[in-house]
């Protein structure tokens, strides 16, 4: 059963990725998508390529598709890490203040950027990333007594930092004019619209590398579910693991938010869906989250591009509209089986 699920996860990602490359305001036949892709990779002679198709595919759709895959996979693995750390299936990266800190950084640039002379296009993602890192460091610092970080304190510190960052963002919203307000609102709903190859190169470092490390921690995360004390008895260096998890979550989520805005729900729901499919073993949940998260976010992006062509729906709306009811349905069916 779980092998079947695993194969379908990989196949689903491939299918959705090809659809994402083919569909949009300008449709490109599947055969041409494959031909141009193989040509770009140097695996085959693409033959004649229509320049318009080539431009759309290589300049717009490829980076966009890759970014959705990386962000979806990264956010989902970050969610699985948080749920392991907090031993709670309801934990998500937002608990560390990552998203609210990023939002404050972004709001600062959107609203005050021109006034402060910080309006260059690269300022927005940088400010969002810095906001994410600063708020996570604060949460970590506030919840560490001596050399021990208390997970329960982390939760409380996260709530406080979220509230403070939220107040700052609120103040900026109050100061914003109508255009800025619109920009800010759209930013918080997320979009892969502006994805470029530069974004992909950055994500390789800030999403792929830390996520790759996290894949090796699955067995340790399982042991953490027995409780910190029992995990210590089994030889886990608890404090080091906590610090590593927080660093990875902060960098991955910070980079995702900086490049694509706030995309809620994925980090919370995807690991949960994987647990319903594969059981609670993180050796399956973490890699499955990577694939399912990538597929779902890519699918959501595809929907957001197709429903109101040639315009686009913010992706945050799509993830919530599709994810919410789907999640509820799965929960009610698994509750009947007594699994939660």
């Amino acid at each position: 059963m779980s092998r079947l699920y695993a194969i379908s996860l990989v196949l689903a990602l491939i299918v959705v990725a090809i659809m994402s490359l083919a569909f949009g305001a300008m449709s490109i036949p599947f055969a041409d998508v494959v031909r141009i892709s193989f040509g770009a990779l140097g695996l085959a002679d693409p033959g004649f390529v229509e320049p318009g198709q080539h431009g759309v595919l290589m300049g717009i759709r490829f980076p966009r598709t890759l970014l959705a895959i990386l962000v979806g996979g990264g956010l989902s693995v970050a969610g699985a890490l948080m749920q392991g750390l907090f031993r709670n299936p309801l934990a998500d990266p937002g608990l560390l203040g990552v998203s609210s800190g990023a939002a404050l950084g972004a709001a600062l640039i959107i609203v005050l950027g021109t006034t402060l002379g910080l309006s260059a296009p690269w300022m927005l993602p940088v400010a969002a990333f810095v906001g994410a890192v600063v708020s996570t460091l604060l949460v970590m610092r506030l919840s560490t007594v001596g050399s021990k970080t208390m997970v329960s304190n982390m939760l409380l510190a996260g709530i406080a930092i979220n509230a403070i960052a939220g107040a700052g963002t609120g103040l900026l919203v109050y100061l914003a004019d109508d255009d800025q307000l619109r920009d800010l609102t759209f930013w918080t709903l997320g979009s892969f619209g502006g994805a470029s190859w530069a974004d992909i190169r950055l994500s390789m470092v800030l999403i792929v590398v830390p996520t790759g490390f996290a894949l090796f921690w699955a067995r340790t995360l399982n042991v953490m579910l027995l409780g910190e004390s029992a995990a210590y008895m089994l030889g886990v260096s608890i404090q080091r693991l906590k610090q590593r998890i927080v660093v990875v979550v902060c960098i991955v989520v910070g980079c995702s938010v900086a490049l694509s805005g706030m995309i809620g729900f994925v980090g919370l729901v995807v690991p949960h869906l994987c647990r319903l499919m594969f059981g609670p073993d993180n050796r399956k949940v973490v890699p499955a989250s990577l694939f399912l998260g990538a597929t779902l976010l890519l699918g959501a992006d595809l929907v957001s591009r197709l429903v109101i062509v040639p315009s686009e729906l913010p992706i945050g709306i799509v993830t919530s509209v599709i994810g919410g009811p789907f999640f509820l349905a799965l929960l009610s069916s698994s509750r009947k089986k007594g699994l939660w």
């Binding site: 031993r87 299936p89 067995r219 340790t220 399982n222 042991v223 579910l225 027995l226 409780g227 004390s229 029992a230 210590y232 008895m233 089994l234 030889g235 886990v236 260096s237 647990r275 059981g279 609670p280 073993d281 007594g338 699994l339 939660w340």
Partner: protein, 275 residues
């Protein structure tokens, strides 16, 4: 073997343990008894290395605990907690497999896990979901996990620390759990240190008993030396009769029913309902 020398634990300004020294030799079962809040669990946390004592030393194989690498220590000592917060729906077998975390060679894991489940009489429930088990069944699964943690071919001395391992168990499984711990002491030379509230269980299965009272060592010795009316009165403020177990000749404790500590009254009509 496990040695603790002059352990003092102070949390804020409260003295939890004061100058407690205990040892557990290889092949020996030591029971730690005493009233609630006497410091038994704290002592176990110190002995396991989880809690750093305010002063004093813990030595494992003659080396201070702090000098052990976490993984190396994990192959030599295991602790069964009173409760486990595990709330994810793992299968019973998977929970016991978590005990194999310190070992990387995968070849014998399955056999070891099965053997440990068998020892706690849970093999038939190996594929049940842990979170759906009763409290006592969970406790036995955790016991199997702890046994799986120590089971290996290396010739190291193993230390098994058990914090009230029988608190949710029925009568036969209480006895079986202690028998299992004693068997590992006899056959595999484990040093076993077990916190117990049931003095009769302790007296029947332990080679030595340690009584803690208000953070201090109140008495220690063989069951016949320390399970006495005097010790029980001084530690628990309770009057008792001591009789001999007909099979083992170990002391048994009966709480006195004198006017000084009178029994709760049971009405006869309640007894009829129970009938």
């Amino acid at each position: 073997m496990l040695e603790a020398l002059n352990i003092t634990v102070r949390i804020d300004s409260k003295l939890i343990l004061e100058q407690v020294s205990v040892t557990a030799e290889a092949g020996e079962v030591v029971a730690v008894c005493g009233p609630n809040g006497a410091g038994k669990s704290t002592l176990l946390r110190v002995l396991s290395g989880e809690l750093e004592p305010t002063s004093g030393h813990v030595l494992v194989e003659g080396r201070p605990l702090s000098s052990w690498a976490p993984k190396a220590l994990a192959t030599r000592r295991a602790l069964l907690h009173q409760q486990s917060p595990l709330s994810f729906p793992f299968r019973v077998r998977e929970v016991v497999e978590l005990g194999r975390f310190p070992y990387t060679d995968d070849a014998r894991h399955d056999d070891i896990v099965s053997s440990c489940l068998e020892q706690v009489d849970m093999l038939s429930m190996a594929s049940r979901v842990y979170t759906t088990l009763s409290g006592g069944e969970k406790q036995r699964v955790q016991m199997a996990r702890v046994l799986a943690q120590l089971m290996s071919d290396d010739q190291h001395h193993k230390i098994l620390l058990l914090d009230e391992p029988t608190s949710s168990l029925d009568l036969p499984h209480q006895d079986a759990t202690l028998a299992l711990a004693a068997k590992h002491a006899r056959e595999h030379n484990y040093a076993v240190l077990v916190v117990l509230h049931d003095l009769n269980l302790a007296s029947n299965w332990a080679d030595r008993l340690i009584f803690l009272h208000e953070g201090r060592l109140a008495a220690q010795g063989s069951p016949s030396e320390v399970v006495t009316t005097e010790v029980i009165r001084s530690v628990y403020k309770l009057d008792s009769h001591i009789i001999e177990h007909p099979d083992t000749q170990r002391p048994l404790v009966l709480v006195r029913r004198s006017p000084s500590n009178s029994a709760p009254e049971i009405h006869t009509n309640q007894l009829q309902i129970l009938d």
